[in-house]
Amino acid sequence: MKTINKSLDGLHSMLVNKEISCTELTKAFIKQMHCCEPRIQAFLATSEDTALMRAAEVDKKIANNESIGPLEGLPAGLKDNICMQGIPTTCGSHMLESFISLYDATVTKRLKDAGAIVLGKLNLDEFAMGSTTESSAFHPTYNPWDLERVPGGSSGGSAAAVSACEVAYSLGSDTGGSIRQPASFCGVVGLKPTYGRVSRYGVVAVASSLDQVGILSKTVRDNAQVLNAIAGYDPQDSTSITANIPDYTQFLENNVKGLKIGVPKEFFSQELTTDKAEVINKALETLEQLGAEIEECSLPHMKYAMAAYYIIAMAEASSELACFDGVRYGHRAEANDMIEMFKNTRAEGFGQEVKRRIMLGTYVLSSGHYEDYYLKAQKVRTLIKEDFNQVFSKYDALLGPTNPQTAPKIGESSDPLAVYLEDIFTIPANLAGLPALSIPAGFVQGLPFGMQLIGKHFDEGLLYRIAYTFEQNTDHHHQVPVLLREVN
């Protein structure tokens, strides 16, 4: 356990100093995976053999005294909506149960180029729709901090695997909070980068104007190192941005003096109970003592964000998922004609949450409702963006809770609208395309609780700086789940 529960830098220097071979290190993570998986179930598929082959190659390089990169030989996991050539990408759905990826997603390719060793594909809510990972068609994932609770979602497997030390870091995707919320529930660091910063090529889309690939890691520095590897322009993704990518580790200074941090009062609405507000207030005090200027501000249209978000997300989802028709890939149902085949295929292949969203999305896009719902939501999206422009003319970053709750128990979340409302603090950043980072802020009744930093477009570096400073001056990220103390 001591071997693998290290930062990426720590693991890297063990390899470079030949304290452990890459094969031994990979085996240690695989052993951890075997210990934890019966209880956590973060993985949908593992790629142990390829991982060990890749590790042997890294060992050869080290033996020849060749230099290795910061991620080289270190084990990673991919959310199972990110393609990796030759292995399944199921999206947690029966629809894609037998689908084998024909190519690497750009982020997968970039991780491979950086020498990462992919240990497997991680569980998620079906087609990333949900916030508990319970809607996966295969099995739920359990929170390493409390096995009766969900890890959050939709990147629940990605967060649980990092938290349980089964991988050194993982990639997830975030459409309305799907990286940040599970990061908060599992006590890890989760970044949703600026829209367009990271390529989405080869990642199964559910809401193209909102989806973004991001990183779950144990520390802020780890997160920055992985962003260095995956960020940047990709001609295969027409929404990716050509701007230069800085070295994100440069921003990691233990200093927030003079930075202006706005705290939107809407984040402290009735949804947030006192004990959770206290954790965030304490974090704000810490940052203030370290020299940051903290001030209350307002995002007046935030109360409309939820409604606008779900209309846009469901409209886009109904359109994106139209490609699952049983013709080119995925499940096909028997039928006598084409239309019946489409209908039966989709009825059998999709689960309840996916069908519900397709129905709602189709409704708000249908003739007679388009203007009242979809177009209206897009206009409200403009107002929400303008709210952010306003506050960012005055503040360097915003801070608040990542979500209103700590992890709920398995089976507790049944009313769809109530579940959607839990995303209230994370969705504004998706609507405005802003980078947002969740880091452990403290604990409420033994469960991790995250705080969220939101920055200007392309200002991931500043978020890392604030988060790093907080991390260096607190010890929340050093806490490990009880499970880890048990399995070792």
Binding site: S98, I100, L102, Y103, T194, Y195, G196, S209, P235, S238, T239, I241, H301, Y304, M306, A307, A308, Y310, I311, A322, D325, G326, R328, Y329, H331, R332, D337, M338, I339, E340, K343, N344, R346, A347, F350, K355, M359, L360, G361, T362, Y363, S366, D372, L375, K376, A377, Q378, K379, V380, R381, T382, L383, K385, P416, L417, N430, L431, G433, L434, H457
Partner: protein
Amino acid sequence: MKHVAHLARLKLNEAEIDLYTLQMNSILEYAARLQYIDTSNIEPTTHAVQLYNVMRDDEVKVSLPQNQVLANAPEAEDGFFQVPRIV
């Protein structure tokens, strides 16, 4: 609901129709709050980080070989995707 299900190419059973009607009503009722905002002079946002006319040169590039493209197909024959009778 049946019309929307047809548009979405989804076969729903009666229980699903009842459940979704109930759930969609409550979600749409919640979404009705948007109607109270005056957006008469507001332009819609389609993408948060706006890009215009992303173009590339019209060049033929290597694509996946036919057998691979068909590898995931539920049914294929003679290099084609096979589907049930259309007409």
